[in-house]
Symmetry: C2
Subunit: 416 residues, 2 copies
């Protein structure tokens, strides 16, 4: 079963917002064995949407459209569906009752004509009831292709995908199995990893595909197996991961599929019953916010002192002023003191500290732009590493954030 995802909205085409809806839908479809062939973003232009529909007709089984369903004049999806299906809009009483209840009961204000118009749907569509918003989803079929329209508001879209679309596809369509396994490697570049595993890669069975996903300092290897027998796929993946592990065991740091570094680190801390805090300068709380974004973080994350200003490092964290004067605020010495002091202040087993110059201009230090010190206080002491992450500012912050969690991970796993 093949699908195309279409996002409608000029705001995406001028770069004002990033489309995250398509990624969510793609992941949800992938899990049930539906292959996403293409993602397309186009403008709120009826003719362009109709042309795109025609091109996809009978080429894919499923076209999922998000956006363009709001009550205002710039939203065109519903009219376009009517034209494509030679249908007309009618009021659906159930949707109207829901919209009325939401506006009058929940928002406590009079319903307007525009609100009421949300209950207009093409007369032949199957309605996907949107319990968390006013715009309903629509499911319509022409020849071999199903066209689905969803609101663009992310949590409304998510609700309809999870509660309506995925269950309906699972009930009504036969699909193959798609299994992914991602291997996280650390410390060697894409080319080097590729040369080491070339022979192994050449011997992969035809139904397993390998992809390299490089990030600075680490490469994820993704294996994808597709077929009708889940048992065979799983066994083949397992066998090939095992033979891969024999070749590059020294650089493999994890096997989990979708897991981000903060989730991996969180699991390690729970396993070992340890706690963590952070003292952050230029990362500004980003490490803390990643750690705490994970459900259940309260089991290991106690908090952070974001000591952005030098005086906060001295007054709140208790970094000695003479250390700052002697070594500068961007130094291994200050990073170490920050880590040790926040560990003591928040009474944790581990503590991460960052100090650096993220740019674009120099701050309270003469250190060069991009220079970063990361310290990790452990139950046994403190280690500090120096980096230069260059520019721009955003990259320096992001790389230092990920790097600090990787240092923590390696320390916990003792694979340094």
């Amino acid at each position: 079963m093949k699908a195309t995802i279409i996002t409608i909205g000029d705001e995406i085409l001028i770069g004002q917002i990033i489309d995250t809806n398509s990624g969510f839908i793609a992941k949800s479809l992938d899990r049930i064995g539906v292959e996403v062939r293409e993602m397309i973003s186009i403008s709120d232009d009826k003719k362009h949407i109709l042309d795109t529909f025609s091109q996809l007709q009978n080429k894919v089984d499923l076209v999922i459209v998000t956006g363009g369903l709001g009550p205002t004049k710039d939203d065109v999806t519903k009219k376009t569906f009517c034209e494509y299906f030679d249908d007309q809009l009618v009021v659906d009483p159930e949707v109207l009752a829901h919209v009325t209840q939401l506006i009058e009961g929940y928002f406590k204000r009079a319903i307007t004509q525009m609100n009421k118009d949300q209950a207009l749907v093409p007369s032949t569509c199957t309605i996907l009831h949107n319990k968390v918003g006013t715009a309903p989803g629509m499911w319509m079929k022409k020849e071999n292709t199903v066209f689905i329209s969803l609101p663009g508001v992310p949590y409304e879209m998510k609700y309809l995908v999870e509660e309506e679309i995925i269950p309906k596809i699972v009930r009504e369509y036969k699909r193959p199995y798609i299994i992914h396994k991602t291997i996280l490697t650390y410390g060697q570049g894409e080319s080097l990893v590729a040369e080491r595993i070339e022979h192994w890669e050449n011997n992969l069975p035809g139904f397993i595909k390998l992809a390299y996903l490089p990030n600075p300092g680490r490469v994820r290897l993704r294996l994808t197996a597709k077929g009708t027998d889940k048992g065979i796929l799983e066994a083949a993946i397992e066998e090939n991961v095992k033979s891969l592990d024999a070749i590059i065991h020294d650089i493999i740091v994890g096997f989990d599929d979708d897991e981000t570094i903060e989730v991996v680190v969180g699991k390690l801390l729970v396993q070992q019953n340890k706690t963590i805090s952070t003292a952050e300068s230029f990362t500004g709380g980003k490490i803390a916010s990643l750690l705490s974004a994970v459900p259940g973080a309260s089991h290991y994350f106690k908090g952070s002192v974001v000591s952005y200003a030098t005086e906060t490092k001295v007054n709140v964290l208790g970094v000695p002023q003479n250390l700052v004067d002697e070594f500068s605020v961007v130094s291994a010495e200050v990073a170490s003191a920050m880590a040790l002091n926040v560990k003591q202040l928040l009474k944790t087993d581990y503590a991460i500290a960052t100090t650096g110059n993220a740019g674009p201009s120099k701050g309270d230090s003469d250190t060069e732009i991009g220079a970063v010190f990361i310290a990790l206080a452990t139950p046994n002491g403190v280690v500090t590493e120096e980096f230069n992450f260059g520019q721009p500012r955003e990259k320096v912050i992001d790389r230092a954030t990920i790097k600090s969690l990787e240092i923590l991970q390696k320390e916990i796993l003792k694979i340094v």
Copy 2:
């Protein structure tokens, strides 16, 4: 001048990563008057890429392709360009020298054959030299359409767009002006705003387009004017913004185009020479990291105490234990104490504090999931607001983060 942006990579189609490259390219093109007609994500499949190229041939002036340029077997873009242009790969000596210098000089290791292959380019292409990575960009023209290939690594792509592609387009092509103006409104929903400005909207000149960009609690109105005379466009935008302001002055909170709330707040703080700190529980440092992501944040952001654990609120922030016992850790009283105490501890003019239950399960409090208290300490005292942001966790954290900055903005502007 019309463009299509293509992203190549299965990792996008299975939802493993979100494509942010296209948004960056779109914004860069929009600024110089190039209209992005479509964004497409397709897999590393040569036939699919070739079909897409053929469909776009002579339909758009510019096709920009990112991804698929790495050294490994799963990267197919270069071979596909050769096939489409009936060309062959040749070694470019300048690129080879650069790659060799980068690998041997910077990374200090022996160059491999795969590294060397990065210097292979189609013989007729114009090379876009990538000073920040190993994969060069390529610019090739067939009939009326230019095809450009860029590496998928975001900062390499950004470098080539900013330093090579945009300057080249500006030099070689005539383009119209595209001007956007975004008006930020606050406190009324999309339908209500639309009804209030219906008459104004119907009277907009044909060359100005209006779009509604709704977010929970706020709606951005984006005006786009396109034409050949910049002066006329700017005057028309200004006039229509003025007449719009006369109608919905009560809900307009800002006018800036691309500015995020943290940038707007930062400017206000600099203008008024005030400083800010945060005390964050469930937002986990997200407010601090947004504030500090802005270049120049050191002029107003002093730091944060991320008091995720209750004991951190008591021990570090000095929230009285009896306040926690009496009102629970998720309460207006605790939020107020957090804000006042962090303001004093970090010696700032303003302080934001958050406490709440982001879910998915209940934490150190019996408060219902989604319940949030935001406190703002000001030079004159402290105000606290209560919200329920529902679920999921991610939404609760994001909405509270934005809301707290909006509360700060309104307080500074005294438009409450």
